[in-house]
Amino acid sequence: MTAKLNCPSCGAQVPFQSQASVSATCPYCRSVLVRTDMKLEEIGKVAKLMDDMTALQIGTQGRYKGRSFILLGRARWQWSAGFWNEWHLSYGGGASGWLAEAQGFMGVAHFEATKAVPAREKLKVGDHLVLPGGKYQVEDMKEASCVGTEGELPAIIKPGTKKRTVDLTANLAGGVAGFASIDYEDDGPHVYVGTYEDVESLTLSNLRQLDGW
């Protein structure tokens, strides 16, 4: 069920489609809002998200492992070697995940309630790690900063939010490439596990129309 709350800054209606969403960016005044009970609280402003050549948009639908999803929001991150997008993927009914879009790859991952991972300082590229679902290998380690948000997100993220991540891959059964990401935050590591996906296998629809494409 869509909750409709009013932006405390401009008064516009800000939809919350997923129960998992805790923050949203007002599409009109670009305030970053946090949901507390039935109220919205402004925690910052976002400059207009820099345009990027992505074919995804809020409202893009698809399927992952037989479940339909819709993209409800995104956070854009910058690190020393470039940018990537993390899209909030909602299955409805409060179930959500992330679709990471980086260097032409799409990885879908879901939160795993485990803290049993080594400290970030103890890890380096190439290390092996057993995570739920398989044996993963550290692919890269990034220190990133949020440079923009839009739509609703299942976490409180605003421009300037920092995170330290470790990305991992795995050779899963059936030729599937596993994808995992560990975000090291103040309250400890947050583990997300999933797979890299072909665009075809996600059967995406309602894609963004791009000039000339």
Partner: protein, 425 residues
């Protein structure tokens, strides 16, 4: 409008630069001064100035879009790379599609390969002949060395730099090539697929002047390989059919005797008129078939004799003739007995029709010490596998030719590799 190319100003020379993969490219070269700009920096910091005076031509124009293997790709970047000795150079084009991401089109010696980075990590097996295992297949090591960037133009999803050097390993399983590029902080694996020149032309323009193709590319599929498998199947199938058919046919060949008689040579050898023997007429019937002449002189010893045999149809006057010799020598030398030649001979005459026949025999040769008995026997419809042998030979000629071509292709493919199975190491 959403998702348009973006124009920026070069922070070195002020020239306008078009960015195509907006928000995804991290570095771009200025079209005018060729400085490399940092697109992740709001001030477009200059990553490097252009130092090289040399001009590089590349075959595919940046900004061009084409449909290749089902998807539309835009050419956004160009990299010239070389081995560290700068002896061998090749081109790499970065392709972009907003939904499908990035791919590479490599051109080396005029051969094209479409490459995509893979997240599924191959396993390198060092034991024995090194190979890589990827998605259940083995890829043979072809090349191990270093590659460095000598020139760049366009835009890239990382901070590209001239001089950047990586360790490269190529493993082949034509038409695929599996490659690893190792830098200080990462190993990137990619999988490439051979692309025919006409596919490049169809995708990016029929008027393009593409580099001339030379040699055999490491991952170039053998033009005859697929046909070879089919051909082999056909040849084996047809051979089996031939063998079965001729066995069935020959199994019915009874080899019926139509004439047999013993003659004596050397009795009246002084009288030449008696040397020619003409038999009384005998019948050959049962349908047109082959006739085998069997000759035998069991007592022939350290001598030879020759026979001219003519089989004449008394009704039509048509005849077939043949000449055949028998020779047999033997002795004992140094405790070993030896012999050469044969006391018997067979010769086959094909397609003899039914009819009444006479046989004319003209024997010749040195006068034997004792009259020499010899046997002449004619059998019709005898088993004959020589047609089968000829058929098989013809049948296998083409597959053998193809096999040789395939083998030459493989030798050429591996001629540039240190790991050639065709070279003595």
């Amino acid at each position: 409008m959403a998702g348009s190319a973006q124009a920026i100003r070069c922070s070195n020379c002020g020239a306008g630069v078009t960015i195509r993969a907006v928000g995804r490219s991290v570095a771009a070269t200025c079209t005018h001064c060729k400085s490399i700009l940092d697109l992740a920096d709001p001030n477009l910091a200059i990553l490097s100035f252009y130092k090289n005076a040399k001009n590089y031509d590349f075959a595919l124009p940046l900004g061009k879009r084409g449909k290749l293997r089902g998807d539309t790709w835009e050419l956004i970047g160009y990299v010239r790379r070389a081995d560290t000795a700068s002896i061998f150079e090749w081109d790499e084009y970065l392709l972009f599609n907003p939904l499908k991401g990035f791919k590479w089109l490599m051109c080396s010696n005029g051969h094209w390969t479409l490459i995509v980075v893979t997240k599924q990590k191959p396993v390198v097996v060092r034991a024995g002949k090194p190979h890589a295992s990827y998605l259940g297949h083995a890829y043979d090591i072809f090349f191990e060395g270093k590659a460095k960037v000598v020139y760049v133009e366009g835009e890239f999803y990382w901070r590209v730099a001239v001089g950047e050097t990586v360790k490269v390993q190529d493993f082949v399983r034509p038409p695929e090539v599996l490659s690893s590029e190792e830098s200080d902080d990462e190993i990137v694996w990619s999988i490439g697929d051979y692309v025919r020149k006409d596919e490049i032309m169809a995708a990016f323009g029929p008027k393009l002047e593409l580099p001339a193709t030379s040699g055999v590319a490491p991952n170039q599929p053998s033009a005859v390989k697929n046909e070879w498998a089919k051909l082999l199947l056909y040849a084996v199938g047809l051979s089996m059919f031939l063998v079965i058919a001729s066995t069935l046919q020959q199994g019915m060949a009874k080899g019926e005797e139509v004439f047999a008689q013993e003659f004596v040579y050397g009795v009246r050898s002084t009288d030449p008129s008696d040397k020619t023997i003409v038999t009384p007429p005998f019948d050959i019937k049962g349908g047109t078939s082959n006739v085998e002449f069997d000759l035998a002189a069991a007592e022939l010893s350290n001598s030879w004799m020759e026979m001219e045999l003519t089989l004449t149809n008394v009704e039509t006057g048509e005849g077939v003739g043949l000449q055949h010799g028998l020779e047999y020598y033997s002795g004992v030398e140094g405790g070993y007995s030896w012999s050469e030649g044969s006391k018997t001979a067979e010769e086959l005459v094909s397609a003899v029709p039914d009819g009444k026949y006479t046989l004319t025999i003209e024997p010749s040769g040195p006068t034997p010490p004792r009259p020499l008995r010899y046997l002449v026997r004619l059998r019709r419809n005898v088993a004959d596998f020589s047609n089968l042998a000829w058929g098989a030979l013809l049948l296998w000629l083409f597959p053998c030719f193809i096999a040789v071509r395939h083998w030459l292709h493989e030798v050429n493919r591996w001629s540039e590799s240190d790991y050639s199975p065709y070279k003595e190491s």
